[in-house]
Amino acid sequence: MSAWSYYISTLAVYFGVDVLSGISLNLQYGYAGVVNLAYIIFQSVGAYVAAATALGPDTGAGAFQHYIFAASLPFPIPLLLATVAGGALAGVVGLFSLRRMRRDYQGAIMLIVSLIALQVVTADVPLFNGSNGLTGVPRPLSFLPVGPLAYQWVYAGWVFVFCAAVYLLVQWLSRSPWGRALKAMRDQEEAASAIGLNITVLRLQVFVVGGLIAGLSGGLLVEYIGAWSPGAWGYAETFVIFTAIFVGGLGNYRGVVLGVLLVPVVFLQVTQFLPQIGYPGLMDSLEWVVIGLLFMVCLLVRPRGILPERKPIALEGSSLQFAAPGLLHQLRRRLRSL
């Protein structure tokens, strides 16, 4: 029973972290049309900074890992620094590589930036210990008097608190005039300029806000796993989250939760329970094949995703409402359209 409990609680933590990632990507792509195929590097910088600032100094006779920022900062400072690091890196990358251009070129640039970052971190050992990465990151909530299993659940709860807070905050931002400006930029960049919006600044802003969330997610994840290395982050990780938000429904955050539940959690975890076929490791390869296929099918069959964007209804005399058809109503409509 406790093995099952461990499994579910671990899943819960990953679910929460992926929801944060999904919110960040959905804000950037679903609302603003900004293609951030380099998402994983912002999560990674958060993870590395949280790790490096929580671990002690790296020099000394027995030192086996080398990294910058060595300082044993107490909780919750590393997490804060992780968030800031994500935003800062996003600012730098954004300033340099976000331009008005075809979205696929922009996507390709971001992909390559993430590949370059991977190469640089792997090669530059004094930075974050190269390809071996960092391990032994101390657990942040260890001052609580709970056993190991209970700690898992406490940590999951800790992650969920952030999820809820970020969800509400980002949803509020997305429904604000700023969020509308982002949607205008997404729909018709030139026309958005023609009504006075500064597209360059908007793009950078949404990129940095997304980066802050990414850094937070990385910090939370590394403080759970305790280790982080370049093997953990490649472009495929970003692709999974993209698939999740596409499946769940772009342009709304309920969709993010649904998509993350379906794709990284249900879809990818289901393979754990299937009988082992072929040689060991085959299932891992096939998982990626399935993700690629899932994305392609989703784009073909249901490009808007499962949950549609909520339409804001304007009525004279009252302020803008976001239509909230009940779940039953939505189901009925969907069944009728099949």
Partner: protein, 278 residues
């Protein structure tokens, strides 16, 4: 914090919307002017030295055969294209080096050849986005002043309803841009421009894709905008529209001005006829 708004409760007289920020220059001063504008793409010269002056409340039609450079000229006025040579002046101020969003903030509004409504937002949202203004949409403003913004936001919503009433368009307020017909999209574009109380409105072939019975409606709408004191520059192929709305007509061919005057003068001009037929 003014909550009593004379506009909200009363029937909107035609003049009210759009006059809020009338041009500060005297009646004789052009509100928009281009001086010897040259626009080129790669090696191709699209506009070869074009000049123009429009006064408040004046409507200038811009016609000419295909490839004459009319749209490129309009885009250069708006700041979408960088002019290789020449100047663009808005209310006497040199805006040649300014990007389009800054010209928009100085009172320039425009429509596009292919309707540019925000397809995945409702008509109402389209109007709100334009009406919020730079301050309203700024991230820092949204986050830091969100309590005091409520009044401003309500004010903009009221203005949006006023514009919708003026154009008899309240029934499309909650339709997504992509659900609208061609004529309705064009209307949304124009209404969106109005939310900013512009001094100048540049229209690039506004009647394209508009059903014939709506064209008359739009023509009278444009005339009323002109009567409100907005300067109009209209690129159009439909000559009856140009005749109806314009005070003056300029004819372009091969990137240059070849004739200027009233519609009748221009249409009977030999050079103009040659340009269209030759």
């Amino acid at each position: 914090m003014a909550t009593a708004n004379p506009r909200a409760a009363v029937d909107i007289p035609h003049g009210a919307v759009g006059r809020a920020e009338a041009s500060t220059t005297g009646a004789g001063q052009p509100v928009i002017a281009a001086q010897d504008l040259v626009v080129s793409y790669g090696g191709v010269v699209a506009v070869a030295g074009m000049s123009l002056e429009v006064r408040p409340g004046e409507a200038v039609g811009l016609i000419g055969p295909n490839g004459a450079g009319k749209s490129s000229f309009l885009a250069a006025l708006a700041g979408q294209n960088r002019a290789a040579r020449g100047r663009v002046l808005l209310d006497g101020k040199d805006v040649t080096r300014l990007p389009s969003y800054q010209r928009a903030r100085l009172g320039l509004a425009r429509t596009f050849q292919m309707t540019s409504e925000f397809a995945n937002m409702t008509t109402f949202e389209n109007l709100l986005t334009a009406g919020m203004g730079v301050q309203g949409a700024a991230l820092s403003n949204v986050v830091l002043h969100h309590r005091s913004n409520r009044a401003h936001n309500r004010e903009v919503e009221r203005q949006a309803w006023a514009v919708l009433h003026r154009f008899d368009a309240t029934h499309i307020a909650n339709l997504y841009g992509r659900e609208l017909s061609g004529g309705q999209r064009r209307l949304v574009e124009i209404m969106r421009c109005l939310m900013r109380s512009p001094k100048v409105l540049l229209l690039d072939e506004p009647m394209v894709g508009v059903a014939p019975h709506l064209v008359a409606r739009l023509v009278s709408d444009l005339k009323s905008l002109r009567d409100d004191g907005i300067a109009l520059v209209i690129v159009e192929h439909a000559l009856e529209v140009v005749k109806e709305v314009s005070d003056r007509v300029n004819v372009m061919a091969l990137g240059r001005l070849i004739a200027s005057g009233t519609y009748e003068e221009v249409v009977s001009n030999d050079a103009v006829q040659a340009a269209y037929l030759g």
